[in-house]
Each structure stands twice: as C-alpha cells, then as structure tokens.
Symmetry: C2
Subunit: 329 residues, 2 copies
C-alpha cells in the first residue's frame, strides 16, 4: 500500500474541528457514535466511484475525485429533501497512487463537507491490485413525515427540474478528448467544472421538503432514467416538452442539437427533478425566485402507463429508457 504508516495518515486526515453537536465519538474507536434530534428520521446512502469506470486520472484530479465521491452521496440525501450530517469513507488504493494523491482526495471531501457542516466519522483504507475504489456513506436527517419519495407523482402534476442539465456529460466529452490539463476556453471550463465539481442541491431539496406531496429524484443517471424511476414508482405517465429543457448557453453553443442528447441521457448533473401539484408549483416557483435559484417546469403528469414521453414540434414520442453508462461498462 502506498501509505507507509496508516496510523499517521489517519491523524493527518482527521479534520481539525467538528460541526455536529450530536456527535459523541468520531474517528478513534471501533465505530462512531452519534445522537439524533427529536422528531427526525435518519437518511443513509452509500455510493462508490471506481477508477477507469467513473473517472480516470486524466479527467479528474485527486481533489476533484474526493469532492465528487462525497457530492454523489450528498445529492442522494438532497433528493430525499434532507440535510447531510456525517460521512464515512472507505478507499482501496492501488500501488501507482502515492500518499499525497490520497491525502488530496480527503482534502477534496473535506472542502465540500465543511460547506455543509458535515463531519468525517469513520471508514477504512486498504490496498488493491486494481483501479482505485472509493466508497462513501452519508447520514443525514429530515423531520418526520417530510421525506420526498419517487412514488408521490399524481395526474396533472407539474414536472420540474432545477438548474441546467447535460453540462456534466458535455464536460466529460471534452475531458475525454483533451484531458484535464488542456487550455480550455470559458464555455468549455464551465462544462468541465460541472462535471468535476457539481454542487449537490441540498438547499433546493430543503425548500421542496416544505411541501406536502413532491416526488423527487436527483439527476445522477440522466434525466430520462430519473423520470422513468418516478413514473414507475408512481404508476403514472410523464410528458416532457423538448423546448422547455433548461440547457446552459455553453452547452448549446458547443454541442447544438447534441446538447439535447446530453440533457436527456447524460448523467451526473446532480440537479433535482420532480413533480408537484399545480397549486404548489406556483409557491415553489416563488420560493426559488426569492432565493434566486433556477427551477423550470418541463412537463406534466397524466394517468396512464408508467412511461415517459417527449413532445417535440407537436408530436409525442416515447422517450428511450436508457441511462448513463460513463465511459466504460
């Protein structure tokens, strides 16, 4: 293993201070201990990023790999409407990564964690003969009964999405062509940054959790795939309008028509996509405007088969149920 002294390394990556008052015992014993607040539910998720499958050394710096491995998980907490509190990290390290690389991975995580006042409370470091494997567990909380599930979509609901979509896939396309040390222009940099360091939509999820019946998902595997999950979990048809998809100016300018492919089938934007009643939509829109956060209505829900349709120039087509495959599978 590239880490010569595991104990000394762990001392180096323990953050200097903790944020959460519920934390009883973090790193330093067999397991971590925490207390929960009254009238809350705990939210927990676990996601893995694998070298050569989800990233390459040519597409992401160690700092960015750490940042994103945590972001992916925080995004899942956001998609439940919750607030992240703690994280644990397990990392299997190949011999061609050095200790400084691994340290920077943890720095990338700490950078994002401190923005959300999250504490690192455990994990594991091991060696492996293959690509680097990083698994993160995040624990969050939400007030009882306030969580947002995929199965909440109903007839006549509005379908919405936050921010812009497809940018991450565009950024990945550029990175695979030129690597991460190429002199990109501003438009290209914008897309690359969205791929390397996406911001999980915790604030957005918290706003949405104030409403009674919102179905919610984060865009990790592509918009089409996420909409299918909502349609299937709720047993409804979803109809989106191609014209309404929120595409960024850089994505449109660089990719033109291909931008729509990235928006529909490119993953890892970590925006939130969901449905709500038409009445709630007016209030949600106002809440987002007040906070200057972009959100866009892109379609509606109808009773019908659990499928997703896309309207383009007056005609309705079934949207392909394909997801995001990274660059290898």
């Amino acid at each position: 293993m590239p880490i010569s002294d595991e104990f000394a390394f762990i001392q180096k990556i323990i953050p200097p201070n903790t944020f959460q008052t519920g934390l009883v015992m973090g790193i330093g014993d067999d397991a971590a201990l925490f207390r929960t607040r009254e009238n809350t539910e705990q939210i927990i998720c676990m996601d893995t990023m694998v070298e050569h499958v989800h990233f390459k050394k040519t597409t992401m710096s160690p700092f960015q790999i750490g940042y994103k491995a945590l972001a992916v998980n925080i995004s899942d907490i956001a998609a439940m409407g919750g607030t992240p509190l703690y994280y644990l990290v397990s990392i299997a390290i190949p011999s061609n990564w050095d200790e400084q690389d691994i340290y920077e991975i943890y720095q990338g995580m700490q950078n994002l964690a401190s923005r959300f006042s999250m504490d690192l409370i455990g994990g594991d470091t091991t060696s492996t003969n293959g690509g680097l494997v990083i698994t993160v567990t995040v624990i969050g909380e939400i007030m009882k009964e306030k969580h947002l599930l995929r199965r909440n979509a109903r007839d006549k609901d509005i379908v919405f999405v936050t921010g812009t979509i497809g940018d991450s896939a565009g950024g990945l396309d550029l990175l695979l062509k030129n690597g991460r040390n190429y002199p990109y222009n501003d438009n290209e940099q914008f897309l690359i940054h969205k791929h390397q360091m996406p911001v999980p939509r915790v604030k957005e999820g918290n706003i949405l959790a104030k409403y009674e019946r919102v179905a919610l998902n984060d865009v990790s595997d592509g918009l089409a795939s996420e909409l299918y999950e909502i349609a299937e979990a709720s047993g409804v048809s979803i109809i989106i309008e191609k014209d309404k998809l929120p595409l960024s100016i850089p994505l449109r300018q660089i990719y033109q028509e291909k931008a729509f492919q990235y928006a529909l089938f490119g993953g890892e934007d970590f925006e939130l996509v969901g449905t709500c009643s038409p009445i709630d939509w007016e209030n949600i829109k106002r809440d987002f405007e007040q906070q200057k956060i972009p959100i866009q209505a892109i379609g509606h829900v109808e009773n019908g088969p659990a499928r997703v349709f896309i309207q383009e120039k007056g005609s309705l087509k079934i949207l392909e149920k394909k997801g995001y495959n990274h660059f290898k599978k």
Copy 2:
C-alpha cells in the same frame, strides 16, 4: 460488469421480509430512511474486504466472503457494546466473477443478518478492473451513556478475552497451504471454520455494556495490536500472562508453540478483549458462566507507560506492537 440487468439483480437480493420496526424506507429510493428509539445512541462503522488482500477465491467461497464482510462490521458494533440493526453493501465486481457468485455473496450476508434481525437497506454495485472489493456499512444502537470505549482502562483492572484466540490465523495458514477444497480432518475444519465464518460477539458485548466502566475492543488485527490500542487510549500499562491465553485444543495440537504466535499476532478472531474493575470482573464472570459463554482473565492493568508486557516463566517482556497483515500488503 458480470451482472447483465442491475435492476433485476437488485430485486433478487432484496430480502423477502424486514425485521426492524424503525425502518421507514429501505432499498428503492435515493436513500434509506429509519427512525431511532428514544434514549439511544446510533453506532456506525464501515469496513472493506479486498480480493487478493483479505481473501482469495481459494480460501473463501462467495457465501463465506459475504458472511465475513458483514461479520467484520457487526464485530465493531459489538466492540462498542451495541446491537446491529441495518447494513448497506457496496461491491465492485471484476469481470471474472459471475452473477451467481455475486448472488451467493449476498446470500452469505443475509444468512448472518437474519441471525441478528438486521435489514439490508442500501448500497451500490459497480464494475472494476481489479480484484473484487466489498464495503459494508453497519448501523447499530446502544442506550445512551452505555457505549464501551478503549479509553476506559484503569490501574488494577482485570484484562479479559472471550472465546479462544489464534484459531482464525491457524485456519488461514491451512487454507493457504491446501486451498478450501482439501479433505481436512476435524481439528483442521474447526480452525478453518473460525477463519471463514467467525461469529461476531454481540451477545457478549451486550452483557459487558451493563457494567459501568469497561474498555473494549474486538480482536480484528491480533491480540497484541488490540491491547496496544487500549493501553494507548487509556494511558496505562497492560500486563498479560502467556500461560493464561485461551488457546483451543485444535490450535495447540496442530501448531504447538506457534499457536502462541497466532494468538498474539494473528487477526480476525473477532473475539472481544477488554478490561474491567476487579469487582465487576466477579460479576461479569458469573454472567458469562450463567450463559455458558467462555471468558478468561489473561492479565491486569497498571499505571505506567502506554505499553503491553507479557509475563512468561517469571520474566516480563515488552510485547511487540505488530499487527495482522493478512497474506499480502
């Protein structure tokens, strides 16, 4: 990836029923949701097992790999005095493992989980170009203030260990020599079983958690290493007596003097080692006797440098602070 249809595979591994009444939402949304009991603390840990580092196909069946990956984590909960409730599993799968192998890994976990009424509530499956990597997170609970930390050892305390130690290292030695399909005799089978399917000591930890001030660790990296952790966390000297180390008859018969090396420096026994006051020791011994669970006093604690000593034939030696390195590092 060897799994052709991830969705269908996940349906196959979701256990048919759940045990925990606190579970609000398990597998099937962005994250899992659970409620906690009043006056409890939550315990969480995360451990990874890597092919060629922690196991080989020649030493463990897929079922046993799954079983043990969960057991390692349950053992950490036990070492805090707690009770395991939920688990999440992330698995990075190389192309030379087939879907049936992976299914059996999950079966091995479910076998152990159902014994402790634990629910599988999340995780991830990905591919990798290296050896198989399996990471498990376990969440448990304990009544507030009842957790057992390593830093609790004090002058004059009794040092104890449950069960017998060194068996797992003996079993691994046999497996590395002959593989797992060799016609082993009963003594050898005993050791091999202790390596492949150790039972985490949850019941034992629960008994110990009833006492005020117990320091506790699980024997994952070897007795010497675990005792050093207690000595360092508590700032005390620990003195153990070689004659008192609980060695199984199979280990003694097969390995003679080498048995002591395995007992001191061989890991993965998942017995509990700890310290308690002499008064509590009398009661603990009685509790364990009543439940017919083996526990043995092996030494005592003294004020002094944070070191571990071993007494043999009247002379005191510093015990080497070396840990368990599996068969490659």
